[in-house]
Amino acid sequence: MTDDKRHLDTTEHAAKTPDTEQPWSELGLKEDEYDRIREILGRRPTGAELAMYSVMWSEHCSYKSSKVHLKQFGEKAPESDAMLVGIGENAGVVDVGQGYAVTFKVESHNHPSYIEPYQGAATGIGGIVRDILAMGARPVAVMDPLRFGAADHPDTRRVLPGVVAGIGGYGNCLGLPNIGGEVVFDPCYQGNPLVNALCVGVMKHEDIHLAKASGVGNKVILYGARTGGDGIGGVSVLASETFDAEGPAKRPAVQVGDPFQEKLLIECTLEIFREKLVAGIQDLGGAGLSCATSELASAGSGGMRVELDTVPLRDNTLSPEEILMSESQERMCAVVEPDKVDRFLEICEKWDVIATVIGEVTDGDRLEIYWHGEQIVDVPPRSVAHDGPVYQRPYARPEWQDALQADDANKLPRPATPEELREQVLRLVASPNQASKAWITDQYDRYVLGNTVLAMPEDGGVIRIDDDTNLGVAVATDGNGRYAKLDPYTGAQLALAESYRNVAATGAEPLAVTDCLNFGSPEDPAAMWQFAEATRGLADACQQLGTPVTGGNVSLYNQTGDLAIHPTPVVGVLGVIDDVTRRTPMAFAEEGQLLYLLGDTREELGGSAWSQVIHDHLGGLPPKVDLERERLLAEILVSASRDGMVDAAHDLSDGGLVQAVTESCLRGGKGARLVVPDGIDPFVFLFSESQGRAVVSVPRSEEVRFNDMCGARGLPATRIGVVDGDSIEVQGQFSLPLAELREAHEATLPALFA
């Protein structure tokens, strides 16, 4: 013990030894950042303080490079009555009516998932679920937008099955239905797969909880798993540094998830909420206790005092610095009034969850941390949690952008004969990006909780949230890195447009947005330009569509050496549907129903799936965005659902019309006879990726009414065929038996990964 004390770097000791060398650089701090810490404290930081600042001031936790751009989401936020809690909390909260509120957020776990695919992805799910839980909500569904390297690359065989097993292993064990996501392959993600995870939670308005520590004398309770040596420094090391082939082989300790512990944490926390026992609550994610204590104290009114040696440990050799930085999973931190502590601990005991009072709220304005009675941290909490460094990183449009855009995909050689057209359709629907993802999604439980109304491969997931009234929500996530590479401003808007359209296709009204911005190094002006453009594009589009950004996440440094990933903004849209029984599925299931194409088709092949699959080409401009058209299309889709005018709807996105029709036919087990409308080239009709479009299946009895509605509101609606037979026939061109299409579409992923 005496030995311990001799080495303990107390605040007192730090004040007396100003010249002690400190490893600020190894911890990822820049010299001016270190100087600023000394200035804030009026002395050198103790080891524990240095650990806290370094991890909280990392890119991942402080958003120091992205903050100046993210501001726009607030500044340009459209007026919305639906927003109950906005950006800045663990997750945003949206009013969905009938007294219900929904919270949702998407986050990245990219770098950890490359190092250890199973655990990296699993703990990604665990982390986002705790964020949602911390808002006071019951988590009700998850989604997983994923990006991998080339489908046939040997390392993809390592990463993909591990990531998928990890997401399934954790999410299935938590009992959360997985209702959708994305799987995209592109060589640009080879060394930087993107593992984003989204969670949706539901609560009543009065159950909203915030992350703040108020009320002098209130107790701070740490509960959940014991603290171990997991991912120490993981946040700063894993999330903020590029993988450098030259550098020392860093094999940072990875976090291992325990979904069972998290399931107990969820049930225990919800019971605690029901009894109104918490004044403030925060999950422990990146930066562990450093983050939770400083954020709670920073957002609250008083200070906080923590006895760090009371933290239950898994490994008794951990130093106080390590305890502060540990990223052990499945932990939460609550602020509880003294007379409610006993009941709080009782509920934890009921659920076999370890809970310990580790400190209390003080009337000061400092965060003080003690170790065996000696003070090792004494900081203004805001300086750690909210007033980190802010950078105006230089950015510049890369010089290759012009050449890329000039390389027009519309000029690529096109199929010359019907036979060639047919063959290219088959190649398209069998290509890894366009093929069925069932091999992956069949590893996820979509039924648990018994409220899943629609799940993948539908356009959006739809969850019932009230058994009696049939109120529900729909969520979709989308992103197209190829479009964003061609034009990041437009690309981000297209991501929103697609997600918005997907939600509307289910019959739900789009309400709010969450986003995960996956980009390269902010220290590279080109990547920073992409980031700035995408952020501006998304903020503008959200303003125009009236869907505020409620929260999200930024993941930078997604690059290997000089090679950055495609800029990849992933956008999640939440919609509300007042009666889930009127949801619109995607399957063409009724013979004789009429197929209508909604929207305009132009010659738009830049960044298209066709250009990638047939020509391995990326160039030109992405399709044009028309947000007013998107809004009109959404209104029509929602009205059609409400008035029972369509039996099926499927939005058009990558792969164009032929991809959408194939998917809807295969889902319903029925074929289609298509007629190419006058004045349009069959190839463009089938493969163009013009936006603002959807295909719907209309019962004959509804045709007049439906046409009238589209006509009155000015949405082009073209009758393109009929549900019929057991093949897809494009009149005058070719016929493809469903069986052949199914084989092409469904065999690809099993052949690669099973």
Binding site: I115, G229, D230, A253, D258, Q261, D352
Partner: protein, 85 residues
């Protein structure tokens, strides 16, 4: 035919939820006095021909690259003397 056994255990600093679950259940089953439980994997490889140093080196490599995930696991390789029951 000889048997080479590869034992794979989570590194000591890595959380072992399975071992912990077993340990927590022991008191309920009336077992006291067990301070820690770790759960790992055991692979039994039946090797054709004699197990010389070259074979052991190759099994080591197999364990390192395939049977264990050395980011989170340690392993040992040994020739089994006694047969398992």
């Amino acid at each position: 035919m000889a048997r080479v056994v590869v034992d794979v255990m989570l590194k000591p600093e890595i959380l072992d939820p399975q071992g912990q679950a077993v340990q927590r259940a022991l008191p309920r089953l009336g077992f006291e006095g067990i301070a820690d439980v770790r759960q790992g994997k055991r692979f039994e490889l039946e090797v054709e021909g004699p197990v010389d140093d070259a074979v052991l080196a190759r099994v080591n490599e197999l364990a390192e690259t395939f049977l264990a995930n050395t980011v989170i696991e340690d392993f040992t390789v040994r020739v089994e003397e006694t047969a398992t029951a």
